[in-house]
Symmetry: C2
């Protein structure tokens, strides 16, 4: 058998790092739950025809075969590459078990056969929320999902985040107003602004048949941003000076609706979570199916990670139409990888135990076990020392794991004393009453 070694693109954590990931996941879940989002999980596999629907995703899909497959047996299933495709299928399949509007969260691993690089994995956790309606989705949910995500990220021990938001109606109205017919295609070019710069985008647009004036207007629009409704006046000025099409009424209405919606979004998010949202008209999002608000979120000082939480509003969750909704997704593994990799945070200790109950001799192991059980009955995680070694060794055992307390049962079978091995303080204690300080009760995320 080959020597063990990590598999590129499949991150794994030490027990201590896993505590960080696990705390991140439960903190996020708790914020989602507090806001009334219920959890679902879907199977890891979907039929290939469903996964491969979006053509540009096809190259990333892992298919499932059987080790003892017969000659010519073709794969029919693949691993999901995001949580949206399985969620859409789930909503369709379980629609009679669901009360709409359906507020769901979903935290699972997804798999993509991409070339691994820093912060890009082949197996990683996503944490998604969506609100999906059966018929009409009120606009206020576009603000709410952004607020919930801002709070979920804000509850983590991270630098600040900035949520950059835009609106597809606004963009589409504007693009149509300057004479661009294939808005989705033009957006795909604007989405590359960071990669190829304004000149690159202009060249792509004109190559696609967009006029120079329109390309300039589009790039000018992408320069507008404001942390409040201030962007609206700038957009209207630009619109007044650049619209060229004859039949302006449709695009103009669309633009106005988009502006109103974006003002509501940026102001609503900042009212609930001050200083979080910026209307940024360059935010495009690659996916065609967004039809309203779109979101990208950046971690201050770690903008190189790209967006850590993205999403948008869509008219139809399912391919056949229907189920309008709005959703956002956190790339959890990318975030955790940066958190533990850059020394931003670490676990306060590597194990759940707050106490090691020492063992005087193997014959009295039962005495130690009963003390441990009395501590556990009050929610205190602990373990009994593996060997009745010298006390110095048993303290070393605790120290090596970062366990702050060692309990020494008395030789006469009474409860004895508990020692804080950091301060050396040792006091008589009753196993039915003693409590560790709250900060020591369970491992937690700390900034080193």
């Amino acid at each position: 058998m080959a020597r063990v070694r990590p598999l590129s693109g499949y991150p794994e954590w030490t027990p201590s790092q896993r505590i960080v990931e696990s705390e991140v996941l439960s903190s996020i879940s708790e914020v989602f739950s507090l806001h009334g989002f219920g959890e679902i999980q879907t199977r890891a596999v979907e039929p290939l025809d469903r996964l491969a629907g979006k053509s540009d995703a096809a190259k990333e899909i892992y298919t499932l075969g059987r080790l003892n497959a017969e000659e010519g047996e073709e794969a029919k299933l693949g691993l999901h590459f995001d949580l949206t495709v399985p969620f859409a299928r789930y909503v369709e399949e379980f629609q009679n078990d669901i009360a709409f509007p359906f507020r769901r969260y979903q935290i699972q691993k997804v798999w993509r056969g991409e070339r691994p690089q820093e912060g890009r994995f082949r197996e990683f956790y996503q944490a998604d929320i969506d609100v999906v309606a059966r018929e009409t989705l009120p606009a206020h949910f576009e603000t709410e999902v952004a607020v919930v995500m801002a709070r979920a990220l804000g509850a983590l021990p991270l630098p600040g985040v900035t949520m950059r938001v835009n609106n597809r109606q606004l963009v589409e109205g504007f693009y149509r107003g300057v004479g661009i017919e294939d808005v989705a295609d033009a957006l795909r070019s604007v989405d590359k602004l960071d990669k190829i710069g304004p000149d690159g985008v202009r060249a792509e647009l004109t190559a696609k048949g967009v006029s120079e004036t329109a390309a300039d207007a589009v790039l000018e629009l992408a320069r507008i941003s404001s942390p409040d409704g201030g962007f609206a006046a700038a957009v209207e000025d630009l619109w007044a000076s650049t619209t060229t099409v004859a039949d302006i009424e449709g695009p103009q209405e669309q633009l106005k609706a988009g502006i109103a919606s974006l003002v509501e979004l940026v102001e609503g998010v900042n009212e609930a979570v001050p200083g979080t949202a910026v209307a940024d008209l360059r935010i495009a999002r690659g996916l065609d199916y967004y039809t309203g608000s779109v979101y990208e979120t950046f971690l201050e000082g770690h903008e190189d990670l790209g967006s850590i939480c993205s999403g948008g509003r869509y008219d139809s969750l399912v391919a056949g139409g229907g189920f309008p909704g709005v959703g956002m997704s956190i790339g959890v593994s990318r975030l955790v990888s940066r958190m533990v990799g850059s020394g931003l945070v670490e676990a306060s200790r590597a194990v759940p135990s707050a106490v090691v109950v020492a063992v005087n001799d193997e014959d009295s192991r039962g005495v130690s076990a009963r003390i441990a059980d009395r501590l556990r009955a009050r929610g205190i995680a602990c373990e009994v020392a593996p060997k009745a070694a010298k006390f110095g060794k048993q303290i070393q055992f605790a120290d090596k794991r970062g366990i702050p307390f060692v309990w020494f049962p008395a030789a006469d079978g009474t409860d004895g004393e508990v020692k804080d091995i950091r301060s050396g303080e040792q006091v008589p204690a009753d196993a039915d009453a003693w409590e560790p300080p709250a900060a020591d009760a369970r491992p937690s995320i700390v900034r080193p």
Copy 2:
């Protein structure tokens, strides 16, 4: 695209059923943590040569391919079919990050390409604990893992469980004493006792060259059981009347050591969790690598499920030797499937929210949102009504989800009143002080 339908062998739960599964998983995790077991997770994939090591597992392995694979490209990775193979690899890979003895738990999905049938899935959750040492593993851990599992199962809203335990040293000593040379092979036949009955086992054994006397002795041994150390005398009597080999000393020592170990196990478990363990000398466990205690666990009234929690002690976790340990694994999905399928339990409601904050009119949605945030600040999960519909409709919205309380903000912007929609009782309330009854705070598992 094909109509959506369930995939055979890939269970999925409604939002309400997922609450049951999720509560089961967190209850189990909490018991593990209280006993000082730390969590790890491993990637879903392993190199195929590592997975296929155990030959009889090979037929169940799912391999991973790429949708756009090139002609002749061979699969090198597969999905793990249990948590032991990846754990062994993890311990080898991370041995310098781990403090031994290593108490770990791991709850993840595993995949097996078996023919699906009731209670047998292709994708399912396992929950494993193991204690692994670097050099020597003290025997008391064989009792401890059984106690932890008994408590984990005991904390669930289930009928009672019986843990049937045996010891490989005892069995091996006895088998050798009656002249059986290939003990592992004989055990594989005895493991079929439930399927093919004593006559079938006798026929298999004699076909393998085991003498009729020895086969009878083996079947006699399998009839012995006791909820305490009482089995020991029965085994010794049987041993005295049936041993046939000339050189009896080795087998006899092995038998005695096994008896002592099994007495300690059954009595130790029953001391900690009375009425749980039964020494049952027919318990064989299919896997060759167990070398001491072996465990199977049955749910009262649901014995048809087979063992819901099994495991044993082993000398070497890794193929090259080394890392002795003891572990047990709960088949969580099988258990949850029975719990939700047979009506044993259900979720108290389908969503996390305890309260719906009603909306008087869309202009005052912000008032309702601020009340909701003040409830959330004290850990009360809630959501704001999606529409400013008539109050009857908003109550219906809560009722449909099983949400027990509706909060009505006053028209003057003060906090207003909260209604228990089950009793109809409605009282003035302060959003900074009001609490739902503890039983209503979060959804829970209830017996219908």
